[in-house]
């Protein structure tokens, strides 16, 4: 039976052999690519730049992952760096913690949002806490990549938005890119971080394209919130898959004479409240949109904190638009269920009318 970890010496030789292949080089350039391709390029860069970087997950090897985010990486970097794991998420994350303790920097793929929960204990009680527990002596640079959110016509458990369940937990960073460029660079940031990062990938945007400048000089700073459209009438905050929806809403609102400012949060823990506050102080109105259920969702935290910070600037209560307090519906209902253009605009209208 093949031993994918192998004994020390064969591992080493394989590794050296890998290092000499030209495919190891990540190409740096400005290119139009899909979000998936950007993630793939970012992982490739990480594997090239740091031999301690490892990829782990189910079906990430020959298959390249069910979304092909790791396509070609096992072929180019070998089974020792791109490890197909047994089908056990707790085992994957727990083993990744051990690998991190031994000096590696594992990047874990969870196949779908709905399948992260078997690993929740390891993430919440171990991964999140070990740095604090050791008072800084242990660092766990583990990235947990999770394709998340709905909109792809999938069956149950394949469309969840669990970000609140990670953001509430101290010790984790939670981020979600909205564009191919952010996918590339935020993943770079996540990989370089010495903190554990839950990296949520907006799967329904996987095949949307955008320009990505992968040249080292293009590296932006750590991901704060970003104003992606300016406007004076109302602030619309979103992240991940909902940013594009909110930009569409802003375009429609503009036709109706309302100038919406759209803020892409990018990081969900911590949240860049300074950027949001600055915007709300100008606009006086705030709508937060996410796919996750509204009840105890990110919108609650944003509404609470921004209201506290901007109480005397707010002309209307912060409105939230998001998932209902129901399980994610069967796929034929998801277009109506998801907070789409119309539901966002409805909330915007109500906020503007208040």
């Amino acid at each position: 039976m093949a031993d994918t970890s192998a004994t020390a010496d064969t591992a080493d030789t394989a590794h050296i052999a890998d290092m000499t292949t030209t495919t190891m080089t990540a190409t740096a350039a400005v290119e139009r690519m899909t979000l998936v391709a950007a993630l793939n390029a970012s992982l490739r860069t990480a594997l090239v730049e740091d031999p301690k970087t490892l990829l782990m997950g189910e079906d990430i090897g020959r298959l390249g992952g069910v979304f092909r985010v790791t396509d070609g990486l096992q072929k180019d970097f070998g089974e020792h760096r791109v490890m197909d794991t047994p089908l056990a998420e707790s085992g994957i994350v727990g083993t990744a913690i051990g690998l991190a303790l031994s000096g590696y920097r594992p990047i874990v793929e969870i196949q779908f949002d709905g399948f992260v929960f078997p690993a929740y204990d390891q993430i919440v009680t171990q991964l999140a806490k070990m740095h604090a527990r050791s008072r800084g002596k242990v660092r766990l640079p583990v990235v947990i990549r999770i394709p998340y959110g709905g909109g792809i016509g999938a069956v149950e458990h394949h469309s969840e938005s669990p970000e609140a369940l990670f953001a509430h937990v101290a010790g984790l960073r939670v981020m979600s890119p909205a564009t191919p460029s952010d996918a590339y660079w935020m993943l770079q940031e996540a990989v370089r971080s010495d903190d554990p990062v839950v990296f949520l990938e907006p799967k329904r945007r996987y095949y949307e394209k955008g320009e990505v400048d992968t040249r080292p000089g293009a590296r932006p700073g750590p991901p704060g919130a970003r104003v992606v459209r300016e406007g004076a009438d109302l602030t619309l905050v979103a992240y991940g898959p909902m940013v594009a929806t909110c930009l569409d809403a802003a375009a429609v609102a503009a036709e109706e004479g309302h100038e919406l400012e759209v803020v892409d949060l990018r990081s969900i823990s911590p949240i860049d409240f300074d950027t949001v506050s600055r915007s709300v102080r100008r606009t006086g109105r705030l709508v937060v949109a996410h796919e996750a259920p509204v009840f105890f969702g990110a919108g609650a935290e944003i509404a609470a904190r921004i209201t506290e910070r901007c109480f005397y600037h707010l002309e209307a209560p912060v409105l939230r638009v998001g998932g209902f307090h129901t399980p994610y519906p069967p796929s034929r209902l998801e277009d109506e269920y998801l907070p789409g253009l119309d539901r966002v605009l409805d909330a915007v209208d109500r906020a503007l009318a208040a």
Binding site: T4, D59, G114, A154, V155
Partner: protein
Amino acid sequence: MTGDGIRLLAPDGTRVPHPEHSIDLSPQELRSLYRDMALARRFDAEGVTLQRQGELGLWPSLLGQEAAQVGSVRALRDDDHVFPSYREHAVALGRGMDPLGLLRLFRGVDHGDWDPEEHRFHLYTLVIGSQTLHATGYACGLAKDGSESAVVAYFGDGATAQGDVSEAFNFAAVYGAPVVFFCQNNQWAISESNEKQTRVPLYQRAQGFGFPGVRVDGNDVLACLAVTRWALERARRGEGPTLIEAFTYRMGAHTTSDDPSRYRDAAEVESWRAKDPLLRLERLLRAEGVADDAFFAETEAAGEALAARVREGVRSMTAPAVRNLFDHVYAEPHALVDEERDAFDVYQAAFVQER
């Protein structure tokens, strides 16, 4: 015991004697097993076709696993209970389930909302391994009731790696629960072959938890029936759980979304084609004169009829209104759900008006 496992019917259609697990079936029973496998295969092919035509969102094909499913489910009594994974279409048919119930799930109009008590066939479970614990708990309940019914939990080779499955093995062993763990080892968990999941043959896992594990030729419907019957009898006698590893092969893609050419050789698939579960039973039926051309033609016609019914049924399936989503989040009234339903009604009414 390794290799192909317990076998009563060789790929060439000849019978293989077995000291413990022999089985004596009437001609009618033999024909009926073939018929169930053939109908399941035809039904499954229709699932694939419907997905290709855009009528279904996804279809996990059972092609190649007909004997494992039909043989095992045939061993059940009516009052026994099944906890399936998501590929047990032939088991579902064997329990008398309406095939359209399954298809509603894969069309995306519901999450598979049949009544699990109607045919004692639980809901399909997509979180790998979860249902093995439910099956164990259900079996504990039956034992507490003094019932002589038993439970069969279906799962795959990949599932054996999940902690839940090990916990189910242990709970079942400790409580002596009347449950049969039926693992269809179809050699692949999406793109990962057995050696990525386990270092030893899967049936051996059971021993470490204190109950018997056996491997059976999963493409031999007679052996699957005989061995499952034996395991169910153990359960009924209060002897606790059994693990059956049905050694079979997933002839198709993992699901219609999958492209197996990325990770496995055509030659491997070819080698398993020679072990086809239907073909070998057909050989037996013909060799022993139990079935003739007329039977096979009639079976094929029945398959086509089933396919036609399924096709038509699927095409006319519509999704319920989104508003119905709010109805069954809780069994009892819930203020937040009511509030959100009301708000949704207001929103929809306004929206309709605007247009």
